[in-house]
Every structure is written in C-alpha cells, then in structure tokens.
C-alpha cells in the first residue's frame, strides 16, 4: 500500500527522533534486567498526512459499503419472493431470497467490522503504554481497621454469649435449602415403570406403518423388511412420539432353516420375526438390514446384530441383543403380539436387570 505515496525518503524526515532505546551495556551488567519497551515505531500514517488521508478514505469507504449492504438487504427483502429459486455456481439451485439476504447482511456487518479494525490499525494511536498493576492485597492499616470492626460487631450482637440464638439460627439456615430441594420434585413426573413397558400387549394387532393396515403373514415375504406399530396408536395421539419411540417394530422373514436360535424361531411365526427397532446402545432407530447376511446395523455407532441368531450383538458397543416380540396369528389371519417385550427396549439403565 505504501508504494502509492511515493518512496520512504520523501517523508522520513518527519520521523521524530528515536527514544526509549536501551543500551547494550545494561544487558552485559545484568542479564536479567527488565529490558523495558522496545522503541516505538511510527506508522506511515503517523508521519505522512497523505497516507493518513488515504486510510481515512478506506475506512469511510468500508462504512459506506456497509450502508449500501443494509440498503441492499432491505431491497432484496422487498424484491424477491420467498419461493424464487435461481441457479448460482457453484451452489446450485438456491433460494434467491436466502442467498441475497445472507450476502448483503454479510457485507453490511463485515463493512462495519473491517472498517473499525482498519481504523484502529492505521489511524488510532498505537503508542505502547505500561499500566502497572497495584498490589492485590489491602494495606495493613485497612486490614486492622476491618478486623476491629468485625470484633466490635460480634461483641455488640451478643452472638457468642446468647447460645440459644446462635443454635436456632444455625438450625434455621440449615433447613431453609430443603425448600429448594423439595421443589425439584416438581421438575416432572417420575418415570415409574414406563421404561419397562411398551404399548404391545397380548392380542394387539401388528399394523403396517406404510399402509396403516393389519399385517398378514402372507404379506411378509422372505428377504423383505417391514415396520409395524401397535393397533390403536394414531399419529395424532398426544403421546404418539413417546409411544412409538418404544414400540417401533422391525419385521423380517427368514427361511425357518436359517434361524439358528431356537427361541427366536418359537417366538416368531413361520420364520416371521419381530424385533424392537430401538438400538440397545443409546436408542437410535436401527434398521440397516442386510437381507443376505441377516445383519442389522445401527447408523449411530455401528452396533451390528444378527437377526438369524436372536439378534445377538456381533459388533459394536451395544450391550444387549435387540428385544424380540412374541407374535402369532389371530382368528382373522392377522399377525398379533402375544404380550409385551420380555425385556425393556432400548438402552440399558440402572434398574434394568
């Protein structure tokens, strides 16, 4: 930048004489002496009024740019409809409103910020000043004074003499925080046994999440993946999210001879098995199902369960197999649950046995 104002020689005679420079001798006598501040160096703007004027214009220009940015922001807000999509390389098809508002607001804010910094760097005084810290502690006279006041106060209050007052005051002050502790009870309802139970119960029909219709065993073919929820649960229900978070079910059908775990086969229906969709590690919905290996993978921490072997954990941090729901077929030919999950679904917790 300095080249614009001619060579250094033109203005160097304006430089004040150097001061504060320390002599080399001091270093030799005492190598640990405080070297003090280095000599102050002047900026071009300090000695060259032309350079200072230029910096002033740059700062003013940045502030003006910020003003234009704000005006453009308001203009874009008025001009662009909210659903207008434009193609901008390399961002692709983006909303004209979002893009222009972001860009103009950035110009408006950066204009102020960059202008202020440039102002401070080039025009404001940059003289180094040392402001020594005062002592951290009070002086002895003040400390003695306060000690005397304290002793006088304690004597006048009779705190040491009237033991009854002292003891009851201790009692009162110790008990008062209990009020706050008791209020913590109102933070929410107790979990009670909610973690142990889901909406599944004996005779509840498995509803296909895609169609909201009961699932029939003949609908579920080998190699397919279906998600189910208990009958009676509606998306409009107040507690839908809490309930589906525990009751979500993953239905797969294996060839009966592929099922290695005897109990898994018994709890299923002709190779159709129903497992909880909630990972037993930290409760992510888990359904990355590989139909040839029968492995199901959790997207969060890569816990892998073998659905052909009682959903045993074969990899990853999960501590329990996925809970299986006992299912059968009711008189209408629909798949039904034979009860709730035998173990709590989802991640482990203290009271889980």
């Amino acid at each position: 930048m300095s080249d614009e104002f001619g060579s250094h020689k033109d203005v160097s005679e304006n430089l004040p004489s150097a001061h504060g420079a320390h002599s080399g001798d001091a270093v030799q006598h005492d190598p640990f002496a405080n070297p003090g501040l280095p000599p102050h160096e002047y900026r071009r703007q300090d000695i060259d009024e032309k350079a200072a004027k230029h910096s002033e214009r740059v700062v003013a220009g940045l502030f003006t740019l910020s003003m234009l940015g704000t005006i453009a922001f308001i203009a874009c807000f008025v001009i662009f409809p909210v659903d207008k999509i434009v193609y901008i390389f390399p961002f692709g098809h983006v909303s004209a409103l979002n893009f222009s508002l972001g860009l103009t607001l950035a110009v408006a804010l950066l204009g102020i910020g960059v202008g202020a910094v440039h102002w401070a760097r080039t025009l404001m005084s940059d003289e180094e000043i040392v402001d020594e810290r005062h002592r951290a502690d009070a002086d002895d006279e003040l400390r003695e004074n306060i000690r005397q006041q304290w002793i006088t106060g304690a004597r006048e209050s009779g705190f040491g003499r009237r033991k009854l007052i002292r003891t009851t005051m201790y009692g009162a002050m110790a008990l008062v925080p209990l009020a706050g502790v008791v209020l913590l009870r109102d933070l929410g309802p107790l979990p009670e046994d909610k973690l142990f139970h889901t909406l599944w119960a004996k005779g509840k029909v498995l509803i296909n999440s895609n169609t909201n219709k009961p699932l029939r065993p003949e609908d579920v073919v080998v190699g397919s993946l279906t998600f189910a929820q208990p009958e009676g649960l509606q998306e409009s229900d107040e507690d839908f999210q809490q309930q589906i978070a525990k009751a979500a079910l993953m239905i797969v059908r294996l060839k009966p001879e592929d099922i290695k775990d005897k109990r898994e086969a018994q709890w299923g229906h002709e190779g159709i098995v129903a497992f909880s969709k909630i990972c037993t590690h930290v409760g992510c919905p888990i359904s990355l199902y590989e139909q040839q290996t029968h492995h199901v993978l959790c997207p969060c921490h890569q816990s892998t369960f073998d659905l052909s072997d009682g959903a045993r954990v074969i990899f990853g941090p999960a501590g329990h197999p996925l809970p299986q729901l006992r299912i059968s077929v009711n008189g209408d030919g629909n798949l039904v649950a034979l009860g709730d999950f035998a173990v709590p679904v989802g991640p482990a917790f203290w009271e889980r046995s």
């Binding site: 160097s12 692709g92 098809h93 979002n98 397919s224 998600f227």
Partner: protein, 269 residues
Amino acid sequence: MKKLSARRRHPLAALVVLLFALVATGGLYAALAPAPKAQADDSAQSLAITQGKKLYSVGCASCHGQSGQGSSDGPSLVGVGSAAVDFQVGTGRMPAQQPGAQIPKKKNIYTQPQIDLLAAYIASLGPGPAAPTKDQYSPAGADAAKGGELFRTNCSQCHNFVGKGGALTDGKFAPSLKGVDPKHVYEAMQTGPQNMPSFPDSTMPQDAKADIIAYLHEVDSANSPNPGGFTLGTIGPVSEGLFAWVFGLGTLIAIAVWMAARTAKAKKS
C-alpha cells in the same frame, strides 16, 4: 377264435400282443392327446423364451447354471421374476465383472429388447415379480410429501435422507439414488437386489412406491431446488462439521491474525 387260442403258446405270441398294445396306446394317444392349441397362442412368448435362453447361455449360464438353477458362483434364478432381470441387467450390475462384497453398477451392454428376452426366459423358470409398466413407476400424479414420509421410514436408514447412499458392513454399501431410472428404483424395491431387503406390493403398495419415486424426483434430480444453499454432499453432520471447522474457524483465525498483525512501519531507510 379257436385258431387264435390254439396259437396262444406260440413263441411269437407275446411279441404280437406287445405289438397290438403299442399300436393301441399310440393310436389312442394320437386321438385323445390335448391338441397343441394353447401352445400355438403363445408362440411369440415361447419364441422370446427360446431366444432369451440363447442369450442366457452366453452371458449368465457360467455362474447361474445351464438352466438357472444356480451354482457356487451365483444364486438360483428360479422365481426371481422379470423385474429382477430388468433391474440387474438394465443397471449393468449383471453380468458381474468379478465376485466381491457387492456387485457395482456399470455400463449396460444389453439393449432393452435383449433384456426383455432374458427376462422372459427367467420369468418362465418360476413365478416372480414382473417388470413394472410405465404407469406403475411414473412419478406423475404421485404424492411427493407422502413419498418423503415413506422414504424416511423405509429407505433413509441406508440410502440417506435424500438418497445419497451410505456405507454398510464389510465393503457393502447402499448406492446413491441420484439419476437412477424410476423403473429401476421401482424394481429394486420390488425385488430387493443383493443385500437390500425387498418391499413387496403386499407391504408397500404400488402407489406408495410411486410416491417414493416422486419424492426422489423432487429432492435428488439435477434441478432439485435447495433453498439452503451449499448442500455439502447432503450427507449430514460429517461434511457440515468439517466445513464449519476448517473454513468457518479458519476464516475467524485468519481475521484474528490480521487484526493483531504488525502494521506497516515507517523507518528511516
């Protein structure tokens, strides 16, 4: 009659009786056998099957066996249906170049009529899902919003929330769905290729499949609008976090360095 019974112990009698029996059986069969009428109606179909078998013998039989029964190198094709053939050959996955964790998509070397012949032959081996017609998989008139809901329930766990795909175990992966022919998306749902589970019409009806295709069309085509701006691959927190840490924090550090940097000093030269 007497003459005949007198000769019943003749050494050639048994032979004569056998001859009569054969003539009678043959004659009866010729008279009563079902006429080849039904076959005549299907001659185009049987021609397609014959031609398909020829293509099959050249391109597929080395792994899937001379009659589609499968071998140690490839699964049985009995009952996979024409939809599976149309998907696997149409996307170039079959014939496979080499065995591996997953057979990738590559350039398709068969023409559509050839694929149809192959599909006709495989479909003749056993009943299976048939290749869809255009009105089944066309996204026109389908509900993209409903499709998005279905996609997030059934597909997004592997294919990511706008179909960008993702990694599975042991080198397997869910491919990106960008630019995939709607027909192939439909067939993949129907048949469950490789490790993908299937979503048959019985659990995911045809119009639900069309809704999903409409959703993909909405979010994952070249012209899909993206009101937020830079997608960073639309693969979620990893790329977004990396961008924020490298470029966002990097810019802040650069500004901090600039603010504290030594300004140009005027020095006696």
